[in-house]
Symmetry: C2
Subunit: 109 residues, 2 copies
């Protein structure tokens, strides 16, 4: 079994927080949003997504409420908290710094 890696490890929290920036979404919607926005390149497996959402809940970056979807289904909608919005800023800047650093290595070496 080859190791595929649908995702660059360490980026999932950032991706999730980003999709919640504009509006609350349920888990399935988050996964679809990431897939769609990335032009099908990034796929978030459910076994990665839900544990990640638990982590985010525990740390208070998001909160969750049961609501009805447009298709008349019960679903947990996740919303960015104020702390989560702040955290998003932190993680985004850390990520960009990392990427820039990696870029320098890849380019100069």
């Amino acid at each position: 079994m080859a190791k595929k890696n649908d995702l660059l490890p360490g980026t999932l929290d950032l991706l999730i927080l980003t999709t919640l920036k504009r509006a609350p979404l349920h888990g399935y919607g988050i996964a679809l949003a990431i897939k769609r926005l990335s032009d099908e390149v990034l796929t978030v497996e459910e076994g990665s997504l839900y544990p990640a959402l638990q982590r985010l809940l525990l740390q208070g970056w998001v909160k969750a409420e049961w609501k009805m979807t447009e298709t008349n289904r019960r679903a947990r909608f996740y919303t960015l908290t104020a702390a989560g919005r702040k955290q998003l800023g932190v993680e985004l800047s850390e990520f960009q710094q990392m990427i820039a650093a990696i870029g320098r290595v890849l380019q100069d070496a």
Copy 2:
């Protein structure tokens, strides 16, 4: 104890292969090169580096020989193999595709 993460997980092999692109290096030299090229942003711990080198050896991406350094020390010098050079190309392009995809999500969301 806060989790720091000196590195973006999943990028170490690519970084190592890249530093070996021009010339063979020993482990310590690889770590220094990555640190220096990244302007001190990226730090490769020895506990990450040596296991990674073992993986690369096992897969045949690099080969190793004991030699003397300029400072008169014995050290294992790692060299990219032909397969390793090819692998570097693959990983580089996968990485760039990932980063581009992540960029789209971060931007459009």
